[in-house]
């Protein structure tokens, strides 16, 4: 593995290997001294062309705990507005001799293009409405911690699916792990061609959240951006919350063991009620904690293996 661009590039075995290594990385988080020497002397650039707090800091902490030198760059508005191409921008950084670029970009596919241009490893930290592989891996990690093996488990994903990179990575990841996935959204927020996506057996779609919740083992609520209303995707926030939100009433439809995930940031009162967000079965903060461990594992898989070959 040189790059992590899409969950589609990962086999079931590779996913499980990342998740297993994350377990030992997670233990490091509970030590007083959290630093491992694994990536000493390696340089990682967090290249964020789009605002991010949690993903960027999560990757940064992961790099630092593995003793890599991590540098944050924000590329917001750099390339297009200055007349410099994206290719020139990333080749400049690559020429400095970095080992890895962790890329967040508002345009779908940008990390794939960058990986074709540069010599270093590239990690997709979220590209447009395409993928967010590290998020899907940490979601799987959190769900496995709560539920055990995900084979045959029913995961319900609800929200703005059209614009969600979290959805695309999660769908691929959960299917690799053998979960049954049901996608729930109003028809206006279902990705186009969802019913014929290739390589995506074992999932269903529904417009009726109440009907699918009673069999769910995990419910993943995705953020609905309020600006979608101006795009006419749904009439009002109130209507959305009533129809597709995880309300207090809907909590009562869940099985006792079912867990709640949210990749954050949450819109309390819109897609998720405070009762759901703060419930004992909510994994929201576990996900954040797992995020560092899973990202440490990702960096380890991409850089430590390569280093040991040298």
């Amino acid at each position: 593995m040189k790059h992590l661009l899409s969950v589609a590039d990962l086999s079931r075995e590779e996913i499980l290997s990342v998740l297993d290594t994350a377990v030992s990385m997670h233990e490091v988080q509970h030590r007083d001294v959290k630093k491992l020497p694994t990536l000493r002397g390696r340089t990682i650039i967090n290249f964020f062309f789009e605002d991010s707090t949690r993903t960027r800091s999560s990757f940064e902490i992961a790099g630092k705990w593995l003793s890599a030198d991590t540098i944050n760059l924000t590329g917001k508005g750099t390339s297009v507005s200055k007349g410099e191409s994206l290719r020139d921008t990333v080749l400049t950084i690559d020429a400095m001799g970095v080992d890895m670029m962790i890329v967040r970009h508002p345009a779908s596919g940008a990390p794939m293009q960058i990986a074709d241009w540069v010599g270093c490893s590239v990690v997709n930290a979220g590209d447009g409405t395409h993928e967010h592989p590290s998020q899907a891996l940490l979601d799987a990690y959190s769900m496995r911690r709560a539920l055990g093996d995900l084979e045959g488990r029913h995961v319900v994903i609800v929200g703005d699916l059209t614009h969600s990179r979290v959805l695309r990575s999660n769908l691929l990841c959960l299917q690799r792990l053998g979960a049954q996935v049901t996608l729930v959204a109003p028809p206006t927020l279902m990705p186009s061609g969802i019913d014929t996506w290739s390589g995506t057996d074992g999932f269903a779609t529904s417009y009726d959240l109440d009907a699918v919740l009673p069999t769910a083992d995990a419910v993943m609520m995705l953020r609905v951006q309020r600006e979608r209303m101006s795009g006419g995707y749904f009439p009002t926030a109130k209507e959305y919350a009533v129809t597709y939100g995880l309300t207090k009433r809907r909590l009562g439809l869940l099985q006792d063991h079912a867990v709640i995930c949210h990749p954050g940031p949450m819109n309390r009162g819109l897609e998720i009620s405070a009762d759901a967000a703060d419930a004992a079965r909510s994994l929201v903060l576990d996900q954040v904690s797992a995020g560092v461990a899973v990202r440490m594992s990702i960096l380890y898989h991409l850089l430590a293996g390569e280093g040991s070959d040298q």
Binding site: S79, V80, G83, E84, S85, L86, R87, D88, H105, P106, A107, S108, G109, A110, M112, Q113, D127, G128, T129, H130, E131, T162, R165, R168, P191, S192, G193, I194, T196, W197, S198
Partner: protein, 448 residues
């Protein structure tokens, strides 16, 4: 030799004229003097003889849809370099779209483009006039003045943008009736496919997370425009048709006697949406590449005449405008040099069309739509000697670096195409041969 080929008669010997039989063709003083057995007998002393065994002779190709980028983006293409690419591609006339900087929405810019074309002398360059001032889609450009100018503009288009306001489109259609003009529409409802829409809306756009460009955004405008053409009794031309649904509407409209014509690009005939899977902006074009099913319907529609014309939508871009993230990169791809080879490969080799059909779709029909009296007349005595010789069996591997264009955004790079332009002649003067080109100022260094 110092003699200019313009002044010297040429006898084209043994060419397969329109693929319908071998004939000799005599060219004197820029016109076809004789075709057939008379040609050789009528050849005056000093006639150059050009052996065309195994070659197909077509009337010079006419491109209704080219972006030459001058004025404004001379780093991407100039009228001269675009003309050279056109001549190398077998064209003797091209229509230069109006989305230049400044926009071709007035007489001055139109005549400037015309003059730049004449000075270069590789092909006839005809400016397309903008429909609306500054392509803003709000008020009519000086359509009538452009029509009366030396450029005699007959084709009007806001290409790159859709004339989406129904009332403005109606007025434009009405207005051009005064001089038998035509409005060429870039059919894209901006409310259904906005500025960022760049991938055919469907399973692939869903998977790739790219903003979808739904077929219906084209089809609703085509449907509206044919009804406006019927209402106004005017002529509408549908630029770069890309979907099966648009073909259905156009077929229906033609059946009702509505004066609609349509073009398809070589890339929409041959390339399909799956090429976008790697996010390579060389495949980013507007309208986007469509699924295979659409390409097949477009091929059938071209063969049966529902689609009248093949037009290139040649759209040069400098490297740095393409080397962005997919949604940020410029739309468009080169087309002038590969159009004939692509049509040959997709339509002729497959048996869907004969060379006479190619002559219709790439010469006579576009010339007729643009009301061009000097082009597309066919290979007949008395017609201007605008001719293209094609080697129908020659296989070439496209090499983007060999292009006459200033730009390199060539989606055909590395592909094998069968059928190559051998020679292009503009009013009896050789403008291109085997990739070499000659303009007005040049004298061919070697004899034919």
């Amino acid at each position: 030799m110092t003699a200019r080929t313009t002044t010297r008669p040429v006898l084209v010997r043994g060419a397969d004229v329109l693929g319908q039989g071998t004939q000799d063709v005599l060219v004197v003083d820029g016109r076809i003097a004789a075709v057939g057995s008379d040609a050789s007998a009528d050849a005056p002393a000093g006639t150059q003889r050009l052996s065309a065994d195994g070659l197909v002779l077509l009337p010079g190709l006419v491109d209704l849809h080219t972006h030459l980028r001058e004025p404004g983006r001379e780093d991407a293409e100039t009228v001269s370099t675009g003309s050279q690419a056109a001549a190398a591609g077998g064209f003797t006339a091209v229509f230069a779209m109006a989305n230049t900087d400044p926009v071709t929405d007035n007489t001055e810019v139109a005549e400037r483009v015309l003059d730049l074309g004449r000075r270069a002398g590789y092909v006839d360059v005809h400016p397309v006039g903008a429909v609306s001032k500054g392509l803003a889609g709000e008020e009519l450009a000086e359509i009538g003045l452009m029509a009366r100018s030396r450029a005699r503009v007959r084709v009007f288009s806001d290409d790159g943008r859709c004339v989406h306001d129904a009332r403005l489109m109606r007025r434009a259609l009405e207005y051009v009736k005064a001089f038998d003009g035509v409005v060429s529409q870039h059919s894209q409802d901006p409310r259904l496919a906005g500025a960022t829409s760049c991938c055919h809306e469907g399973e692939l756009s869903g998977r790739l997370g790219l903003p979808g460009w739904p077929a219906v955004a084209e089809e609703t405008i085509v449907a509206r425009d044919v009804m406006l053409a019927r209402h106004t009794g005017s002529r509408v031309h549908v630029a770069h048709v890309s979907t099966a649904g648009s073909v259905e509407v156009i077929r229906w409209a033609k059946g009702r006697g509505i004066d609609v014509t349509a073009e398809v690009t070589p890339h929409h005939l041959m390339l399909t949406e799956d090429l976008l899977a790697g996010y390579d902006p060389v495949y980013k074009v507007n309208p986007p590449l469509r699924p295979t099913e659409d390409a097949q319907v477009l091929q059938e529609a071209l063969a049966d005449g529902t689609i009248d014309v093949v037009a290139t939508d040649h759209a040069p871009h400098v490297r740095q405008d393409k080397e962005h993230a997919f949604v940020d990169a410029a739309f468009g791809m080169l087309g002038l040099e590969t159009a004939l080879p692509v049509v040959s490969t997709v339509m002729v080799r497959s048996g869907r069309m004969g060379w006479a059909d190619v002559a219709r779709a790439m010469s006579s029909a576009p010339a007729r739509i643009a009301r061009l009296g000097t082009q597309g007349q066919g290979v007949v005595a008395g017609a201007p000697a605008n001719l293209t010789l094609v080697d129908p069996d020659r296989q070439t591997t496209v090499d983007a670096t060999l292009s006459r264009s200033l730009s390199r955004n060539n989606p055909w790079h590395g592909r094998d195409l069968v059928g190559a332009v051998h020679l292009t002649m503009l009013r009896g003067r050789v403008t291109a041969r085997e990739g070499l080109v000659w303009g007005t100022e040049d004298v061919p260094e070697e004899e034919l």
